[in-house]
Symmetry: C2
Subunit: 123 residues, 2 copies
Amino acid sequence: MIFEKGDKVPNDKFVGNVYQAILSDEGTRVSNVTFEPKGRTNWHNHPGGQTLLVTDGVGYHQEEGKPVQVIKKGDVIKIGKNVKHWHGGSADQAMTHIAVSIDHEKNPSQWFEPVSEEEYAIK
Amino acid sequence: MIFEKGDKVPNDKFVGNVYQAILSDEGTRVSNVTFEPKGRTNWHNHPGGQTLLVTDGVGYHQEEGKPVQVIKKGDVIKIGKNVKHWHGGSADQAMTHIAVSIDHEKNPSQWFEPVSEEEYAIK
């Protein structure tokens, strides 16, 4: 863990054990997020777009209509404006990423339904 | 080195050996920058502000009119809008950081004079 782990986030927007520290929040939000195994976001989007920088572990990322993608330390994932997606730890490993949510102050994330067990089970 | 090292940057804005990879550039610019020992930026500012996330090594950061600050892996440095500053590796260790330059597309950095040997020599 390079940066502070932060606090456990409430389960209205996440499933399982997820920790977040907001590192800066000046227009663009920079946060450090750690997902324990099976921990994940609900489906959501970012009207300003987002970049994920995986600093540790192995996890999953999925954009709506595309296959689940395995992501790991060193990966950089760019998510376009308003693309519905989710991200989380893998079934048996934790994953930590820096999330850069562009123009988050003016255009905060929109949150949708939880990721079901069927959606989470990578094929 | 977690993320790609990128290419050596030209010495019109930097002193010494500095490598940069632009990881994303959608309004806010996210780049991975590695400074070899004594490598450093020139004095510059960011009209949109900047956050530095040190992922490896030990380096220096200085805002105009303040003392040189030693920065190391795990440190998060927030630089306000239009604050003139420089950053680089330490005298004998390399330093790598992620730089999040907020609203960089509309408000690119402004560059000034090199950091002199006297300014670089931490007291």
